[in-house]
């Protein structure tokens, strides 16, 4: 799992774009030999800015592979925020990003 983030501030509003590289397996798909592919999907994605959670998403199997998320919030250029993601297998990823 790898998170890519771009964040740009304009008129006091930060536009953050997130791309999380994740297979988002539902657990209902079968491989070539007919065996079920175990489920592996994101459960939570959060964005914390100055100690406050400004975005909190709970995801399930309905979200596509490599989800792309776009978020806007009030913020200041040059400051940082943190993105956290976790999936149902316990894997987590974290990224700290500076607002441009």
């Amino acid at each position: 799992m790898k998170i890519r983030v771009k964040a740009k501030e304009k008129n006091g509003i930060v536009a953050a774009k997130l791309l999380i590289k994740h297979p988002m397996e539902t657990g209902r798909r079968k491989d070539k030999d007919g065996n079920l592919i175990p489920s592996k999907h994101l459960t939570t994605v959060t964005l914390d800015y100055k100690g406050e959670t400004v975005f909190d998403a709970h995801m399930g199997t309905g979200v596509s592979k490599d989800p792309y998320i776009s978020i806007s919030f009030t913020g200041v250029k040059g400051e940082s925020f943190e993105v956290n993601a976790a999936d149902n297998t316990g894997e987590t990823a974290k990224k700290t990003v500076k607002i441009k």
């Binding site: 890519r4 771009k6 774009k17 791309l19 490599d66 792309y68």
Partner: protein, 328 residues
């Protein structure tokens, strides 16, 4: 086979182009046609065709913009991932997506690693391309889509660096320069190899070769072979067995009407030379097999779609195919 045809066309156009020159410069009676083709193309090319102008170095430089895998052709310059991000957002992201994921059905630039063997592979810079030089060349030559060749060399370096970063080939503090270009190794580079299959079943002849005018084509079940006319009959005889007579017409019929399905098994067709495919068919009487071929069955059209063939011609081909699995 096709290659030879093209070569013939090229040689004949060379002949045509050289004719006035031969006459004017040498004042010779012999026309270009009488010169054996093999020797003509080995001669030095004339200095001038007495038309057009010599291309100046500057003119050639304007066209010579290709970049080779080792970095040959790159202009001096550099660009960082950081600068590239800004330019990418401005000029590229509207189509290729902020992370190279591709907006709509515009090309994806990143992702798709490990999908090349899937039914629907994603061929991106990172998952497929063998050399980074193609990226530089392509961006420089054809991008951005509405304004190709509008980018400065340093901008191309920066955007190239950023696309490599999107594919996790370089880190975010990377600066791409002419000097370090060749050090970039693309993930899929080693999956490309030179196709070692031969063009034809014939061995290449480099010296003491046969006279081209006595060589003929013989259609075979797998390849078309080129052999001496004198040997053609013997070759066909060798292909034949006691039960099945193989001749040019029959092979042409097989190649033209039957091979398309029966060589690879399209629409459930039993394959030429594959015994298992024929087992259930051979349980039937030979007349049934003939009739199925003549009037069609399931995916098989009557006479293989060639209603112009005589019944006997179709039967001959059936015999030929049955013979391939040693059935009579």
């Amino acid at each position: 086979m096709n290659k030879n045809k093209y070569l013939a066309i090229i040689i004949s156009s060379l002949l045509f182009a050289c004719q006035p020159y031969e006459k004017a410069e040498k004042d010779s009676e012999s026309s270009a046609e009488s010169v054996p083709t093999g020797t003509l193309i080995q001669k030095d090319m004339p200095k001038s065709f007495q038309m057009g102008d010599h291309a100046a170095q500057e003119v050639i430089a304007g066209w010579d913009i290709d970049i080779r895998p080792d970095g040959m052709g790159l202009p001096p310059g550099s660009g960082s991932v950081e600068d590239g991000e800004e330019m990418y957002e401005e000029k590229c992201a509207s189509c290729h997506g902020s992370f190279g994921e591709g907006e709509g059905s515009w090309p994806k630039l990143a992702g798709g690693e490990g999908t090349l063997t899937d039914a629907r592979p994603t061929k991106s810079v990172g998952s497929y391309w063998p050399y980074a030089s193609t990226l530089w060349d392509y961006i420089h030559r054809a991008m951005p889509f509405p304004a190709p060749q509008s980018l400065e060399d340093d901008e191309v370096y920066a955007i190239t660096a950023y696309v490599l970063y999107l594919n996790e080939i370089v880190e975010d503090d990377f600066v791409l320069t002419k000097e370090n270009f060749a050090t970039i190794k693309m993930p899929n580079q080693d999956s490309f190899y030179v196709d070692d299959r031969p063009d034809t079943s014939n061995t290449r002849c480099m010296e003491n070769c046969r006279d081209a005018t006595t060589i003929t084509e013989v259609l075979g079940p797998e390849y078309t072979v080129h052999i001496l006319e004198a040997e053609a009959e013997a070759k066909l005889k060798a292909l034949s067995s006691n039960e099945v007579k193989i001749d040019e017409t029959m092979l042409a019929n097989y190649n033209g009407a039957c091979k398309v399905c029966h060589s690879v098994g399209i629409a459930g067709a039993p394959k030429y030379g594959v015994s298992e495919d024929w087992t259930s068919r051979l349980a039937q009487s030979k007349d049934t097999i003939y009739n199925n071929a003549l009037s069609g069955l399931n995916g098989m059209p009557a006479k293989g779609g060639r209603s112009d063939l005589s019944d006997d011609a179709v039967k001959a081909v059936v015999d030929y195919m049955l013979n391939s699995v040693n059935a009579k």
